[in-house]
Subunit: 331 residues, 2 copies
Amino acid sequence: MKIVLDGMGGDNAPFATVEGAVLAAKEFGAHIIIAGIKDVLERELSKYGSHIPNIEIHHASEIIDMHDAPAASVRKKKDSSINAAVKLVKEGKASAMVSAGNTGAVVCATTLYLRLLKGLERPGIAIVAPTLKGVSLIIDVGANIDPKPVHLLQYGIMGDVYSRAILKKFNPIVGLLNIGQEASKGTDFIKKAYDLFAKSRLNFIGNVEGRDLFNGKCDVIVCDGFVGNVVLKVSESLAESLSALLKRELGESFITRLGALFSKSALMAMKREMDYTEYGGAPLLGIDGICIICHGSSSAKAIKNAIKVAAEFVDHKVNQHIVEAIAGSML
Amino acid sequence: MKIVLDGMGGDNAPFATVEGAVLAAKEFGAHIIIAGIKDVLERELSKYGSHIPNIEIHHASEIIDMHDAPAASVRKKKDSSINAAVKLVKEGKASAMVSAGNTGAVVCATTLYLRLLKGLERPGIAIVAPTLKGVSLIIDVGANIDPKPVHLLQYGIMGDVYSRAILKKFNPIVGLLNIGQEASKGTDFIKKAYDLFAKSRLNFIGNVEGRDLFNGKCDVIVCDGFVGNVVLKVSESLAESLSALLKRELGESFITRLGALFSKSALMAMKREMDYTEYGGAPLLGIDGICIICHGSSSAKAIKNAIKVAAEFVDHKVNQHIVEAIAGSML
């Protein structure tokens, strides 16, 4: 099994991408193809000493950056590292891809070249979020910002499959993100989605609210990509703001500074527990191929963990299970 | 100036509502009418000793509870404490109302009986959120979950007026909550709203993302009521989850317990800074009257602060300024 990594994608590329690949190759023997500008990647790789047998470089001359328009750049920059990675997956030369690059471009390139799994209408990005009781999956956080109700149902089905296969949840509880618990709440769009979920075979708990996102009430939380994206960014920034506030408060007097020293290990543990990078990247579900999307600011550790998630995705035949579940849902 | 308080609204009514009224009457001499079931309110009020001259009770025999359908309950329960409060405002017997009751019912009753300000099409709930640099206003957090683009522009205008009058901001920076900064990002709905903002006289900074909600980048953040409601509840719960996690981590060893003891004052200060109750309730902007909505779980302190905000709202003639600004926006 080979995994192709977009070597040029992300704010910290190529440093973090190459280091992440080296860590993954060394720590769990992953075989990695790094796609991108050969000279740049070779120079970066040479920092890690002699030849690493598990890593090869695949030259791609162009870079789609974070500000490029997704669809246009995928079509124009034909030899971008993102397109190159997608093509290696399409040709069967890699089993999965990992990218911390322009998310819109990754969604666009994979949908365009790999196409969707049978029965699926739209892809969705799922993230694994830490909660007070283990982890939950939130889908979609930005692949599809204007979905139809049936797309939400398909997200629920894919989330259910992923939770069982990768997160080892038994009969995952699925909730629909809404502004209130009652079935009568929300827009017409969300009420139609509710009806589809209620008729499905999913272990559907009904509507959940924003406050249920991190309390572990559900294993899978379904929302449209606009709401999911906003929520994800709010959560990240709020966690950061709280840390900053706490640091500011802790710095204010000798007594609290002393307290900070003593409680440092607890703060570190908390930070670790809330750290998205610990859980690897976000799977792009629904495409006929495997793609793990990483945060643009991914560190080498985040890249390494995303490569691990990609390998697990391959091992557990997630896509095959998704196709079966989607087919079963239409009986 | 008299302020009418919905005595029966909220999870902690009538205890927290009556105590909040007593605190407001004593601390800043507010004159308060408490609407609700007379016997219940009198019994509760008697706990605070002899007659408090600034507080009177207005009997209303019915209660709209948190699970009642908003529109139906406002029409059926004609003598509810919410309806009674709205009518006292309509008749000019009170200058403003405060309620921690069923938010949907409050929005419905005020819109139905007080009507909207001239030129306004929908009301919006604005909350004052703490950020790393002072406070920001987020509007709408749930009054209107399926708005048109022009409603968002009107929220921006009302938010601008409120920020100037009450939050003492000079030329407030207004941002539109979206999934990316570029004008090309988002749904058709949000792109149309962007165009309206770009042509307006507001100090419009463009699109902002979820991560900008708590970093103080904007003074006024505009979003639809669905997204705003989800974001608000996510933020509240995440702050709570982080506190719980921190407590759990801090409790784990003797050293960290000692650290916790020392850093307790810092934690308390942080909690205070993040505490919505410190900032009083959320103004319902756009109605032809003044209404401050409190969180269902409001404490007496939160009620007291909401009464203070209501009084400031009256003093600063916010509604008059809103009507002028809306009229000016259409020149």
